[in-house]
Amino acid sequence: MGYIIDEKMTTSPPMLKLDHISPQHVELIISGTWSLYQPSPELDPLIQPLTAAPPAQLSVNCDALARWDTTVLAVVVALSRLCQQHNIQFETAGLPAGLKALLVMAEQGGRAATAEPKHPTPSFLHRSGLDFIDLARSTGEMMAFLGEGMLALLRLLQGRAQFSRADLWLIIQDSGADALPIVSLVSFLVGMILAYIGDQQLAQFGARIYVADLVALAMVIQMGALITAIVMAGRTGAAFAAQLGTMQVNEEIDALRTLGIAPMEYLVLPRMLALILMTPLLAIYANVLGMLGGAMVGTLVGGLNLNAYLGATQAVLAWNHIAQGLISATVYGAIIAASGCLRGLQCGRNAQAVGQATTSAVVTAIVFIVLAAAVLTILFDAVGLS
């Protein structure tokens, strides 16, 4: 008897058998080797014969029980319960000493039973409602956070903020210069795609030269800023959330607060400032590369003269277009930094939460970039910039 150490030691199969000694007394014979490594018999076939005519007493005979583990306990516990329900006296004397002790532990009372919470699957309407409430709440949080950021910026201008200039330069390098390759690639390709689609349509009207106008206006007014913003959201916004989230997990942010340093000024402000400065610069760069991509397709596929293409580009662009793009990029930069930092600071205290914060930062940033793009378009129209 005892616990099984090696599954190969199993010899006789586990068996359960009822022995009707008298109408009043039934004996359950548990025999063989009981182990998790081999199937053990179910109690179910015994329930019917036992409860059809319940005896006064049920005893257990373990004489032929070889080795056992808690699989046999599961049967004994269920049996004990069954006896309780049918007023059968359950005699445990026949159980091995170890099993008796385990039975006592298994039956030991806990605190008063509480109902288990139910988690019904929410309906589609329910979930959309929750998502909408979620969106409304994040809008409020983002607004409050951006506002706090602006107040911190004001304190910085007054020279009263706890601000590390070294950190600012590092973040500027990380989010600005280091982002050039990916921004180049994406904007060059987008410029090419725009030109290619435009070329196919405009060729039908013999207006191929307007490909230059199309690419220039699309890139400068909206696409350049938008592409940069989405790349930055995935690259830098996620990094901010992960950095601050990890600091939150390590209690570093608590430590900063208790050292009398406001995370808003020390951590958020340099990040916000870096992106407010860098996103417009990257957007200008993206515009140029996009137009170059367009020029490549326009000349190679559309057969346009490069000088004609560049001349048309130059002719169509006006300052108001560039202003729209730059203002948009600045706003997007603030949104990316705010969503990254906000989700990082809201991060829970475990590793999984850092992952969630990162995802959430990117999703929040992209949702608000698209919303801001819509609002800005209306605003530009209203003030006559477009």
């Binding site: 599961a74 516990v77 269920a78 319960r81 069954l82 298994a106 039956e107 030991q108 009372g109 806990g110 605190r111 008063a112 039973a113 509480t114 109902a115 288990e116 706890q162 990890t246 600091m247 390590n250 209690e251 570093e252 608590d254 430590a255 607060r257 208790t258 050292l259 009398g260 340093i261 406001a262 020390y266």
Partner: protein, 272 residues
Amino acid sequence: MTQNLSSTTEPLVRIRGLVFCREQRVIFDGIDIDIAQGKITAIMGPSGTGKTTLLKLIGGQLLPDAGSIEVAGDNVHQLKQRPLYRLRQRMGVLFQSGALLTDLSVFENVAFPLREHHRRLPESIVRRLVLMKLEAVGLRGAVALMPNALSGGMARRVALARAMVLDPMLMLYDEPFTGQDPISMGVLMRLIHQLNDASAMTSILVSHDVNETLQIADYLYLIADGQVMAHGTPQQIAATASPWVDQFIHGKPDGPVQYHYPAPARENDFYH
């Protein structure tokens, strides 16, 4: 040295009728605590009773639902941001994990509060202050290491040096003994005691390590289920007849505190 009379009678931290709820759960249900000046006061209780939460409330990192916390006469939760951050500079906190800034060396971690709050301090003074504090915790030799090269006990001592570098009037220790080997436990106990006595600091020690805490605390508060279950000097606590205190201090499995977490009826889980 002359002892200021009022300082021995007026508590440095005064908590009155503190209520704090987290989602649906009541963490504190109207507790009163006085922290005497210049003493080590321990706040003890089983895990999950909100001891760390209490430290965060004292530091103004969380807002209570009712009641007040006064530190040195100021109601922490009515202070504006600037005065609150100034008050926090006078409080040192030792976190369970140490919470060192991972991208700064040991030296820079300890120097960090000095550099942030006293920007005009000459580098030579910063250096001397940092090395002095590190010497006090026995880690002057580790000055160039990065936090990831430190053992848990060393990280906690560096964090202690950082928490003291601004010479706080109030030190808050969050579970300083958890997960320490017996030697670093002894070192920390001696440090906390010496620092408190040498610099006329007031210390609040949150812990559930009964033996260590009973040895160094001047006064104890036992909290459970949102209530102060008992308070007094270690002698008074040891002599308390309350079954709860007896169970907690002696680590008995049976008593008012149940071993089983509330569960659904056993029938649902074991029998079918």
